[in-house]
Symmetry: none
Subunit: 502 residues, 2 copies
């Protein structure tokens, strides 16, 4: 096909708008299925989704798209920075997809659909043996695909870099050993002093009042409610429908505990701030949205923990809590809230873990994945090794696989190498905090409910760029120094000292 550079650039934008349109449809069908759809309508989606997914696959890998991208790649001196990155990311995806034999790719998709079902049943029955054979295949396939795509690279390093460009075991080994070395003694220290009182969490918190709290929190942290919606689902999440211009978050309410939904909203709100603040000209392109899972988690956990669990934030929102829940707040103070939401205690379930112990849950998953991918641990031995590590690092006994190795859905979804993002995100956030503090009195802003300076800093340094820069580039540009877990450890140490007086 004959191109001129201008025509090719226009086609590049058209192709991305088309992909955004299909993604909008697929994402909305998923979102509807977990928020609104009547329960017996899966038959309908089972017809629609494979058809739309196949169109996305065809559109991405067809000869016409490939020759367009190759032409642009060959003329990269005529592309601006953004176009250059679009072409790079799209070609990378295509090249990778093309290295996997189509029949193996399709078989893997079918395996995953089946795996999610089997995992659900195995978890319900707390029976790892049921899930083991299919999980073996998932790990096997991940190894095989890694070798197809990057034959010279360690397979687990390949998996890690799929979720975080440039990430590898060396970085994570260093990171987690620092964390382990500092946090394990800290957790032990807490176990020896008086535990804080979190009884304020439980009580009667009507759903409609909690919903009012959700919108109040979304508005407070600076979300544009005309572009970011809220629904309820079993598991909270954030999704962009096609572009930054329509973002939805979800939460889950418990009538006897307002804290759970409150921090879901602030956590997902952090994701939504990132997603909805890409520069306007990135909308409907592959650069729209966040650059990696870790940077995404750095934002969500920044708003949830660094901001949301700060003393200043608890004080700022306390009058609202009193207005919404007058009976339950009677005789309580903002400080009671602050202590309750910062209670640290080893526990079984990652998603319910406190700020201090959270990263150790992630570390355990990382160590296990690493060993399985290296062939040093058999999948069938995962439960025993899991339980051993929970005892060793968190000091607790795992009663069964449901509350142990079967608790997370990630492996059944094929997401090997995903977990470390959660812990890295925490650590990035703490380093961003340190940098941001050089120019902004953060806790003073929070205590006034004035989030614009904080948001503006994140917008200028992180959000506006979408996927234009790699995670490493973002860190370099923002921090002007190398990533270090010290900021995170320092942040946690101070928090624990304040909450526990140690």
């Amino acid at each position: 096909m004959e191109y001129t550079i201008e025509k090719a650039k226009k086609e590049l934008m058209d192709l991305q708008r088309k992909l955004a349109a299909y993604n909008h449809a697929v994402e909305l069908i998923y979102y509807d299925s977990v928020t609104t759809a009547p329960k017996n309508t899966a038959d309908n989606r089972a017809v629609t989704l494979p058809i739309l997914s196949e169109e996305i696959y065809k559109l991405t890998t067809c000869d016409q798209s490939v020759s367009l991208l190759e032409y642009l790649d060959a003329n990269k001196d005529k592309l601006n920075e953004k176009e250059h990155r679009m072409v790079y990311l799209m070609l990378k995806d295509i090249k990778e997809m093309r290295k996997i034999p189509v029949d193996e790719y399709v078989a893997y998709q079918e395996l995953i659909v089946n795996a999610e079902d089997v995992w659900h049943k195995a978890k319900e029955a707390s029976d790892f043996a049921l899930f083991c054979p299919i999980l073996e295949k998932i790990f096997e396939t991940n190894k095989k695909f890694a070798k197809y795509i990057e034959p010279d690279k360690d397979p687990y390093d390949h998996c890690l870099s799929q979720f975080e460009e440039g990430l590898n075991k060396e970085i994570l080994d260093n990171f987690f050993s620092s964390i382990r070395e500092k946090l394990v003694p800290l957790i032990k220290k807490i176990s020896e002093v008086k535990q804080v009182d979190d009884s304020i969490r439980s009580g009667y918190y009507p759903i409609d009042k909690q919903e009012e709290l959700s919108y109040y929190l979304m508005k407070t942290i600076g979300l544009d409610l005309d572009r970011v919606g809220l629904s309820t689902t079993e598991h909270p999440f954030t999704i962009s429908l096609g572009s930054q211009k329509d973002v939805r978050i979800t939460t889950h309410y418990f009538e006897d505990d307002f804290v759970s939904s409150m921090y879901s909203v602030v956590h997902e709100g952090g994701h939504a701030l990132y997603d909805s603040n890409s520069a306007d000209d990135l909308a409907f392109t592959v650069l729209d949205g966040g650059t990696s899972m870790s940077i995404h988690e750095s934002q969500s956990r920044f708003y949830e923990n660094i901001i949301g669990r700060s003393k200043a934030f608890c004080e700022y929102i306390f009058p609202k809590l009193c207005e919404l829940f007058p009976d339950e707040m009677k005789g309580k103070t903002a400080h009671d809230i602050y202590l309750a939401v910062n209670k640290a205690e080893p526990s079984l379930i990652r998603t319910e873990a406190d700020e201090l112990t959270y990263s150790l849950h992630v570390m355990i998953r990382y160590e296990l994945e690493k060993k399985v991918m290296a062939g040093e641990l058999a999948v069938k031995d995962l439960p025993a090794e899991w339980n051993k590590m929970y005892k060793e690092y968190l000091g607790i006994d795992v009663p069964d696989d449901k509350h142990g190795v079967l608790q997370d859905s990630h492996w059944s979804g094929g997401a090997v190498g995903y977990f470390p993002s959660y812990a890295l995100g925490n650590a990035y956030g703490a380093q961003f905090l340190s940098k941001m503090s050089e120019s902004i009195d953060i806790y003073d802003c929070i205590s006034k409910g004035d989030f614009e300076a904080i948001n503006q800093w994140n917008r200028e340094n992180i959000w506006q760029y979408g996927r234009l820069y790699t995670p490493a580039q973002i860190l370099d540009r923002v921090l002007g120094e190398k990533f270090s877990p010290d900021y995170y450890i320092d942040y946690l140490t101070k928090k624990v000292a304040d909450v526990y007086g140690i």
Copy 2:
């Protein structure tokens, strides 16, 4: 392309599944936009919808589809009745679509997306001038498209037949003149006797209790709640998402009047019964759903009025009303409900009109559309003419455009020729009632809350066929006689006699 008949039949089904998938996406994006989407997300849909619409257009009219359908059409002796009708309807659509230049088609889709937004603002501001230029374009485009498709036919006749195969001005002129002749004097007669008391309508009816009533009503009339969902919107409607397997209805609650939402739910419930009861093998084909708007309205208004406003129905649901609204129902009877929901009185808003005056609202819209399409009335003069006719036929003064010409969304959605369906549907429903009464004691069934015999009659005679038969064929098969408005006039005359004792 070389076909075998078996291969061609399979491709016919595949093509329809693909179209169903795209329609699922487009319909869900619309549904989401009016139920859940944050209000400032139209920019997002404005990118996605034209792209998906263009794909539908291409899929429908591409050479491959056309040659498939032409091959099947040439071999129609080898098709069964359903396949034959599929090919006929799809070829008809293609032939029509191919006559519209693709750029004009896409521009019209964009115009409509924009028009709905402008109409909302114009209605809010009660400012027709704001909406006028875009409405002019809509009428012009409808005329232009009609001429592209059927150059020898009157453009408005073309529009009418788009919603009801075989409908034209001649039929409607006769129909509306009968209606006018009989109903205008009846309305006058009522104005001379004592008006019924409908004060029971107003009071305090909490939304959550009304929502409970909605689900109770949906279940009562026989909807499968696992496949038919309920949401709230400004204007109630019914939509199938891709197929009969996922249907959604909506309603609008008013805290001071439970009757409005109650009958919206039963009305939309009638549509949903029709949509969700096509034969299984019609799912994901063009025969899935209702055969025309009038037959659809015959079902919705059958459930809303003939069933829902009957004495038997009011008696059956009264205990539930007492349970949900004990204070407001204190000292009242089912007969008070019956009188209140059958109060007849000329009013401004079509969707709130009573059974007796309803068809006159429709007649006014018909006469206006007819004149605009014939070039006998300028769009800018619609408000004055509207107000004049409301005075002439209903005897009331229209205070502003919000309560007049801007009240309905149909024109902003491009649905020119749609309104007459509402009145025809009423009349068909009354004739079905007469026929159904030959084999079923309808009001006895209703008084027992036993809807299965009624639903079974509708399923066997109407619902199961989807679009397999034309409206005229359905009427012929069910009634065994010609359509006549006399049944409808007779039904209304008796109802008025019972309610007003005249």
